[in-house]
């Protein structure tokens, strides 16, 4: 198509495009067989189709890690950046182009270890985006090193005698940051819940933090094993304001009522790590969103020159 034709094209109203899941699918994902990242990819593609998001207006930003390969497998815009720094990049994208749908994909090392400062501050900025923490409790890409979320005592290549400290709980930490506005947990092996959670996260106006428990059959095949095999080890948070994943009632009989407006209870529920709790821990739609600072009228070049000339007067001799 020539340059002039493409101009014509832009003028067309293409709102009548209908997107199938395939429209969001990039090249075949190169994760290990059985890797939980595959399910998240599928859920994300399903969400995009469900919401009919335009591929060209959607940006997946990631850091470095197995999970951070995510954008390469989407047929949207993607930014595969550097380790730990996905959130500042995503913030920049959103400050510049608030109209874009921005998703951030991070691993547990990426987000909770090297990216910790950006994570804490992104929660506070509360910029409207969906942040996915793909938590396999290990460093996958670099081949099995301890991550902050590795269970205490679990052996890795850097701590062969077992991780020395209790695992960091990302939900608790997130809930401790002033201006947190959406905090949920789901698991990639419960696709219905995963999808429902992504949907709620996307619907939320603000920074939606979703921790996704993710299996890494290559390095931590055992970690989520029990919870995967035994639904009784899983507890679903339920509430009219919470995340509803229809069809799970039968399988997951352990359920607990939790009002996502109650941050104190949210923290208590998040803290206890004896059961795997899935659902919406906290949501507050009224928190200020930082990108609102950017909601400034557009100025033409001529306008700007006028104001600049006026400022020059202050400095004129």
């Amino acid at each position: 198509m020539s340059e002039s034709c493409s101009l014509l094209h832009a003028a067309l109203d293409d709102d009548d495009r209908v997107f199938e899941m395939a429209d969001y699918q990039g090249p075949v994902a190169r994760w290990c067989a059985g890797c939980g990242d595959h399910s998240v990819l599928t859920a994300a593609q399903r969400l995009l189709a469900d919401e009919q998001l335009r591929p060209e207006n959607t940006v997946f930003v990631s850091g470095i890690g197995c999970s951070s390969r995510f954008p390469h497998y989407m047929k949207t815009y993607g930014f595969h950046g550097i380790h730990g720094r996905a959130l500042p990049v995503a913030t920049g994208v959103k400050l510049q182009r608030p109209e874009l749908d921005v998703f951030v994909v991070m691993g547990d090392g990426d987000c909770v270890s090297i990216g910790a400062a950006h994570w804490i501050h992104a929660i506070r900025y509360n910029v409207d985006m969906v942040a996915l923490l793909l938590d396999n409790n290990i460093y996958g890409l670099t081949k099995k090193q301890t991550s902050p979320t590795t269970p205490q005592g679990y052996s890795s290549n850097t701590q062969p005698l077992g991780s020395w400290l209790p695992a960091m709980n990302p939900l608790e930490a997130t809930l401790g940051v002033t201006n947190a506005s959406f905090v949920a947990q789901t698991a990639e092996w419960v696709p219905a819940h995963l999808f429902a959670t992504l949907k709620a996260a996307h619907a939320h106006r603000g920074f939606s933090f979703v921790r996704i428990l993710q299996r890494c059959p290559h390095f931590t095949p055992d970690i989520f094993d029990q919870a995967v095999k035994d639904p009784n080890r899983v507890e679903l948070l339920e509430h009219p304001e919470g995340i509803a994943a229809p069809g799970l009632e039968k399988l997951y009989t352990h359920r607990i009522r939790h009002d996502p407006a109650d941050i104190h209870r949210a923290r208590e529920l998040a803290e206890d790590s004896s059961t795997v709790r899935l659902g919406l821990f906290f949501r507050d739609e009224r928190r200020p969103r930082y990108e609102e600072t950017r909601e400034l009228p557009h100025h033409s070049a001529a306008d700007k020159i006028e104001v600049l000339e006026e400022m020059f007067e202050r400095y004129a001799v």
Partner: protein, 644 residues
């Protein structure tokens, strides 16, 4: 004509002769404890002088602490104004006339070598009779030290005088001093009054009125008591000028360049750019994002650039260090980005408020891996304004990082420059979000120039994932080794192509050649060129050349160098001196530019550098030139041989 001026601290009598001297160049300073308003006094004096048609360069004297203890030599806070009968391009040498609100801050300035021998000093005399006997003692001792140094000290009862008009003389002495200076330099009092009104326009009208009275009081006192006046002839200049410092120029330059997002984390001496933008940017639809750290600031700027118009980030050395990894990503993923580094003294925390030019090599080579990008250094305050447009344009045209190297000298120096005639084109258009023609790739490198056109989110058909991994034209991760060779070549090619558009720099002095060519970069231009003029006036065959683009280098350097018997750089960074213990030609640490030029041209480029935490003084450069003249060096070598 015999002078009646007392040379040792004593208030002069009212009946005396007044000597008027015409000079083409003179520096004045006002020093005080911090918070006493010396800076305001000097700013007004400088602005009026500029308006009257003098060349002016103002530089603030800033103590290291936020609120240093009063009456301490290290706490000297103030301002220095250099006046000239033509354009003034640098802070000059020592101060000729100083007004000091106490003897301790003056001692501070004296001990740093800030005052010229024989300088005239107007010193507040109240300390002589201060109720605290310790202070009296200090004052006497201080006076003695200063007197021994040979200054012409005039004791002025500033406080006493001010008390006739105000209750709290701490808030008025500066205007009294302004009055004295106005008399001494024959400033147009109406202009001074006007400038005072402008400076205090946000305060109550009574403030201006009171300040006018103090001004007049100082003027009258000086007229009654002082015996020296100076005339610095003025120029006729029709073109309108602006007076501001380099950081203000960068801030307004960023606006003129159409930049709309400044991501930063506070750091001296860069922060004031964001203070200025914080005040005004929203009026242009712009945003200052103060990030949680310098890494995030770079990340936000890169994210914003990726999604649309080029953004920028601004910092100083320690912040540059933190941005290193992100710069590599922007270069690899070909995301335009402007980075302003306002250099300070290093390494590490170093001398946070002081000037140095020692980030050059780190700016050029700091990123692990081969990371070609552009480095440009403005040399004047005016260039601080214009460089921002250049930087944005080059960053966008080449899809790469442009590092702008300013420094603390430019950041805080204030001087007039021709008011820019703003063009809409400088701002660049808003990015076009059009569908991408079929078959176009996100890195469709022009094989000759390495340039390609980027796709922005929103452009249908252009969906792709940028990555810091080695990648091919379609931004696919490269598993094949030859792809990396090709992409590396393309990223490098952009610089060579850009270099071909640069002009060989002009020689200041004698383009035909001569004994010595001095090469500089960045903020030292004014001082170097002034030194070269003086040296040429002495009959030395010296010329100079200033380099604006450090990466890529401009063409023609080797040819120009070949016309001189010797080439040397003058820089504010560290170099071993010849003859230092253990130092050899191979292992000598050299001025950073000289290093670069040697590698590029294979000419034996020598260097003279200093890291004294202050801008270079032209007189010191002249000395260095004398020492480094090929003939002088030969003579020195000869003398050494003779001694053996």
């Amino acid at each position: 004509m015999a002078m009646k001026l007392p040379t040792v601290g004593e208030t002069p009598a009212a009946d005396r002769e007044v000597r008027v001297r015409t000079v083409s160049d003179l520096s004045v300073e006002v020093v005080s404890d911090s918070g006493e308003g010396a800076q305001k006094c000097g700013q007004i004096f400088g602005a009026v002088s500029a308006k009257m048609g003098n060349g002016v360069w103002t530089v603030e004297i800033i103590p290291a602490e936020v609120e240093p203890p009063p009456r301490s030599p290290a706490g000297a806070s103030g301002i220095r104004i250099r006046l000239g009968d033509t354009e003034v391009t640098n802070w000059g040498d020592e101060t000729d006339v100083a007004v000091a609100f106490n003897e301790q801050v003056l001692l501070g300035r004296h001990r740093l070598g800030g005052l010229r021998e024989g300088a005239t000093v107007l010193l507040e005399s109240m300390w002589k009779t201060h109720p605290d006997p310790d202070i009296q003692t200090q004052y006497r001792a201080g006076l003695e030290e200063l007197q021994e140094a040979g200054y012409r000290i005039v004791e002025v009862p500033m406080e006493e005088q001010c008390l006739t008009v105000v209750d709290n003389p701490r808030r008025g002495k500066n205007m009294f001093a302004l009055g004295m200076l106005s008399w001494m330099f024959e400033r147009d009092l109406d202009r001074v009054r006007e400038q005072i009104a402008q400076a205090f326009r946000k305060k109550a009208a009574a403030v201006t009125e009171r300040n006018h009275r103090l001004l007049e009081l100082g003027y009258a006192w000086a007229a009654d008591h002082l015996g020296e006046r100076w005339v610095v002839p003025t120029m006729d200049e029709d073109r309108p000028h602006l007076v501001m410092n380099g950081n203000e120029a960068v801030a307004l330059g960023a606006v003129a360049a159409g930049l709309e997002l400044a991501a930063m984390y506070p750091i001296t001496p860069a922060t004031s750019v964001s203070h200025m933008l914080g005040d005004v940017f929203h009026r242009f639809g712009g945003v200052v994002h103060q990030a949680e750290d310098e890494i995030a600031a770079a990340g936000v700027a890169i994210g914003a650039s990726y999604a649309g118009k080029c953004s920028f980030t601004i910092t100083s050395g320690p912040g540059m260090a933190l941005k290193t990894e992100f710069l590599g990503l922007a270069i690899m993923a070909e995301i335009p980005l402007v980075v302003v580094d306002v250099q300070r003294g290093g390494p590490s925390t170093g001398l946070p408020t002081k000037v140095e030019q020692s980030d050059l090599l780190a700016a050029l080579f700091g990123q692990p891996g081969d990371a070609p990008h552009v480095v440009v250094a403005p040399a004047t305050i005016e260039e601080c304004f214009h460089v921002m447009t250049t930087a944005r344009r080059v960053a966008e045209a080449l899809r790469t990082v442009v590092i702008v190297l300013s420094d603390a000298n430019l950041a805080t120096g204030v001087a007039p420059f021709p008011r820019p005639e703003l063009l809409p084109a400088w701002q660049g258009g808003p990015p076009e979000i059009l569908p991408v023609p079929d078959g176009m790739a996100p890195y469709q490198w022009d094989p000759r120039t390495g340039v390609s056109r980027r796709f922005l989110p929103g452009q249908a058909g252009g969906e792709h994932t940028v990555t810091g991994l080695a990648h091919d034209e379609r931004s696919k991760v490269a598993y094949d080794s030859s792809i990396n060779e090709r992409a590396s070549a393309m990223r490098s090619r952009k610089l060579a192509a850009f270099a071909s558009t640069l002009l060989a720099p002009d020689v200041n002095g004698d383009a035909e050649g001569g004994d010595l060519l001095v090469v500089g970069w960045g903020s030292t231009k004014g001082a170097i060129e002034e030194a070269v003029s003086r040296a040429r006036a002495e009959g030395l065959s010296v010329s100079s050349l200033h380099i604006t683009f450090l990466s890529p280098l401009p063409p023609g350097l080797a040819q120009i160098f070949s016309r001189f018997r010797k080439v040397m750089t003058v820089e504010i960074n560290y170099s071993d001196r010849k003859g230092d213990p253990f130092v050899t030609e191979t292992n000598r640490r050299r001025g950073q530019l000289s290093w670069l030029l040697r590698g590029a041209t294979l000419v034996d480029v020598d260097c003279w550098t200093r890291v004294m935490g202050e801008p270079l003084r032209p007189a010191r450069i002249v000395e260095a030139l004398r020492d480094h003249m090929p003939v002088a060096e030969l003579a020195a070598a000869g003398a050494e041989v003779a001694e053996l």
